[in-house]
Symmetry: C2
Subunit: 145 residues, 2 copies
DNA sequence: TCAGTGGGTTGTGAAATCCAACTTTGCACG
DNA sequence: CGTGCAAAGTTGGATTTCACAACCCACTGA
């Protein structure tokens, strides 16, 4: 996707959700905010940039734009399956921010359906063991263009 | 951290690693590339921007810059614990890109120490069940400033 | 009639990015 | 000695993106 650099799905993913404000907009939408004004307020993004980002996300199939009122026409943004699949990534990012960037107690806390406060952990789907930097190695790498 | 918008560790995390090229540089460094020229080539980032990003990441404690040769002075970039903790996030991002963005087979494949090709999965550290959008809910939210 | 709401678009100026070329410190070769 | 090469950036100038406030349109409710 990127013209130069390694061919890699991380780059592909970032081409869709890596621009400024995209992930914060997604955060709000996954929190249940679906209206443009509310997303703008809660992210702090300027309205013009936010409009562009939401269009990109809709075009990429991460969100859909749904009319919820005909007169006057009003729209809301709803996550697709691809959008919902970003929830774990956002939670991991939040956890990383809590641990290594933010000072003080976590501003946001999530609960898992099991009843515990959520601490997200990435595991190998095959064996269930946590994924660490030492425990993984690349088998095949994309070529550098 | 952000001036406006919801106080949130996702925003804090993105302030450190959310700028263009940061995560791709991290990808290369976690792949073992530690030299400026090589990181520049493999990401496709222009050298001036890359230099600024690496400085930011060093200042944030995600990388350290280590002299590996005195005459002439040469430096390499090594991930800190915070940097290594981003590996799971990058793998999740890659998986998302493989599934929802890239066409064709995954360009990069990782192997877990258990022997299987890695499919990363985010679980609740308490109960071990996979984290899905429906299975989590916010208990406390950061205020919107 | 007049203010308010939702969902944007427009204009303008500031900031970030891109690209190519250049710099610095040294080594190796002929 | 002079030339070439490498690593790790820095510099200048053009281009692109972003930020901010203002505006627009279609309604609603008082």
């Amino acid at each position: 996707m990127a013209v130069r650099g390694r061919q890699c799905s991380i780059a592909d993913a970032l081409a869709v959700i890596g621009e400024k404000w995209s992930l914060l907009a997604l955060r709000e939408i996954l929190l249940g905010e679906r209206r443009f004004d509310q997303i703008a307020r809660n992210t702090g993004a300027s309205r013009d940039i936010l409009a562009t980002r939401l269009r990109t996300l809709v075009d990429a199939g991460v969100l859909t734009r749904r009319q919820y009122e005909a007169h006057p026409p009003r729209h809301e943004y709803v996550p697709t399956e691809a959008g919902r699949a970003l929830q774990p990534i956002l939670l991991n990012l939040m956890d990383w921010g809590d641990r290594y960037v933010a000072e003080g107690p976590p501003p946001t806390v999530w609960r898992h359906s099991c009843g515990a406060d959520l601490r997200p952990q990435t595991v190998c789907a095959h064996c269930g063991e946590p994924v660490t930097e030492e425990g993984v190695s690349p088998v095949r790498l994309g070529p550098v263009r």
